[in-house]
């Protein structure tokens, strides 16, 4: 059974990776999930966790996943915003864990915005 003692091994592995990353000086992509009452009840938590899992799976070291409060468009929740440096902010709505995986693959990895999930594009 996993315990807190196992963290040491992960830490040692990560510490060597961090030294490598610090030398590269890559720009950070920020992914923000709306997680107020409206977002949570619409399913933001599985979306957040799917993003974390996919970013880990693809070993994306320059991506930061954060949470925020209500974005004022409760009807469109779960909402995910992507901030790529020097690019316009992209807002995705009605995101599901499956769509979240596609956003990581297409947008964060390949740089292609998933236009079908954008605010205003949904049916």
């Amino acid at each position: 059974m996993k315990s807190i003692a196992d963290i040491k091994a992960i830490r040692e592995k990560m510490q060597s990776e961090i030294i490598m990353r610090d030398n590269k000086d890559v720009e950070e992509i920020r992914v923000v999930v709306g997680m107020a009452t409206c977002g949570i009840s619409a399913g933001a938590r599985p979306v957040y966790n799917a993003l974390v899992e996919e970013v880990l799976k693809r070993n994306l070291k320059n991506v930061k996943i954060a949470r925020t409060g209500c974005l004022g468009m409760c009807k469109l929740e779960p909402i995910v915003e992507v901030y790529v440096p020097n690019q316009e902010k992209v807002t995705y709505c009605h995101v599901t864990p499956e769509k979240a995986v596609n956003i990581v693959v297409n947008h964060l990895v390949n740089g292609k915005v998933c236009t079908e999930y954008l605010v205003g594009s949904e049916e």
């Binding site: 315990s3 196992d6 009840s41 599985p46 966790n49 954060a66 949470r67």
Partner: protein, 182 residues
Amino acid sequence: MRELSLNVLDIAENSFKAKATLVEISIVQKENLLTITIKDNGCGMDEDFLKRVVDPYTTTRTTRKVGMGIPLFKMVAEQSGGNFHITSEKGKGTVVTATFLVDHLDRPPLGDIAETIVSMIGNLEGSDLVFYYEAFGQDFTLDTRLVRKELENIPINTPEILVFLRDMIKENIKTDYRGVSL
């Protein structure tokens, strides 16, 4: 809210917004009673606000006039044959307690509490979280202060750590026993 753990996630968010440096979440099942407590050392509320806080038309938000988190949690406790209680002191913190009858037909399932706790740990910033879980005679505690100590200079919100903590919680808690599930 389809799961009680989503209510927990929602209520605890208020604690972090109230600038709490320590949030303690405890989920305890004893026989037919499930007790969920969210305790923080945040800014607290004055008496007047505390009286109005269960009203959906009370909120600290300035963008619009409704706040559904607390009223929804209260509703779900009361519809499950339980109680809802909130105490708060300005400058000291707030304690929210909700009880539920485990076998009540209208009690929503506890849901994915491991995912819930990890969603909070992803956004702790400077704060810390203690998660205590006790059910079917087995207990488990996760204290992010101890995790941070082990991590040294690695941030707690890196995906590797979050996924590890999620799996660790899942392995260490008992959510069903002899046909009773939380």
